[in-house]
């Protein structure tokens, strides 16, 4: 009985040791992983749109069945050379984005002043709802002497 068990146990032990040591070596031999292996980012913003037109529209139309990923949007709401007569706030509205983000803008008053300047960044992108459908961002109608600039950048992807 002893004679028949010992070789089996020896074989198992041998396999156990070989597998264990080999795995350890494999682990040590693995190269350190970099966060990003190349300098190319497929998710970098590659397309921007800009408008400073009253009731202007920024439009991103994805090709094929792709989505638009909004990466950043910024707004400068300023008063020109003459004063603005104070008025109700207006809105900047997005379309084809879930929940319809809307940004509220004050009219401003004092000539030459900046009423609002802000930026919104989406670190992992803000994906459109429907593929192959345009994402639009619509500026409000400006008050007299008010200037609103809107920039937005993103990329197309699946």
């Amino acid at each position: 009985m002893k004679k028949s068990i010992l070789p089996i146990l020896l074989s198992i032990a041998l396999v156990f040791a070989v597998v264990g040591v080999a795995g350890l070596q494999g682990q040590q031999a693995q190269p350190a992983q970099t966060v990003q292996q190349t300098g190319t980012r497929a998710d970098a913003a590659t397309i921007c749109a800009s408008s400073a037109t009253t009731a202007g529209v920024l439009t991103f139309t994805p090709p094929g069945s792709q989505y638009f990923y909004l990466a950043e949007l910024d707004v400068q709401n300023v008063v020109g050379a003459s004063a603005v007569t104070a008025a109700a706030a207006t809105t900047l509205v997005s379309a084809n984005i879930s929940g319809t983000p809307t940004w509220t803008l004050a009219s401003g008053t004092t000539a030459g002043s900046s009423t609002q300047a802000f930026s919104v960044a989406y670190p992992t992108g803000l994906k459109s709802i429907s593929p192959s459908s345009a994402v639009t961002i619509t500026l409000p109608t400006f008050a007299t002497n008010q200037v609103i600039r809107v920039n937005a950048c993103g990329y197309y992807g699946y």
């Binding site: 041998l14 156990f16 040791a17 040591v21 682990q27 980012r41 970098a44 003459s82 030459g112």
Partner: protein
């Protein structure tokens, strides 16, 4: 006969010892592997190839900020910040906003800067930052990206900082 039995016993003892040793080696190896796996870091190396590595600044009237990528690489802009204000005297009269522009970016973003209200020296007029967490990639490789400041009215200042990195 007795010598043969002794040899067999010796062999068996050696085999038992060898078996035990191999088990110990195997167990030790698996334990070390487990320890190494549990100690794995969130980030295994400290190098990020997508970190901004080149910043530029200008506060010059009609000044420019220029990145010139090597070879066939692109510029990835990660951040731009703007500060505009009035100096000791303040602006003489309010004017239409001026613009900061950028080249070699598809869609050509433009940023508007208010002139500042009249007779208000020392004030901040407009300060904001735009950031591109995943980078804003230039349109053409191997071509410079340039940010151009506006003509700065007398008694006011405009500062623009921007950071980027080069990549494929």
């Amino acid at each position: 006969m007795r010598a043969g039995t002794t040899d067999t016993k010796m062999k068996n003892k050696l085999l038992v010892i060898l078996t035990v040793v191999l088990f110990i080696v195997g167990i030790s190896a698996f334990r070390v592997r487990g320890q190494q796996q549990s100690a794995s870091a969130v980030q295994q190396v400290a190098t990020r190839t997508d970190a901004a590595s080149i910043c530029l600044t200008s506060a010059a009237s009609a000044g420019t900020i220029t990145w010139t990528p090597p070879g066939g690489q692109f510029v990835y802009v990660t951040e731009i910040d703007f500060q505009r204000g009035e100096n000791t005297t303040g602006i003489g009269s309010a004017a239409a906003p001026t613009t900061v522009s950028i080249s070699n970016i598809q869609g050509s973003p433009i940023w508007d800067m208010a002139s500042g209200p009249v007779t208000t020296p020392g004030i901040n007029v407009e300060t904001f930052t735009v950031s591109y967490p995943m980078g804003l990639k230039s349109a053409a490789p191997g071509t410079a990206v340039t940010i151009t400041l506006p003509t700065i009215p007398a008694n006011t200042f405009t500062r623009v900082n921007a950071c980027a990195y080069y990549g494929y």
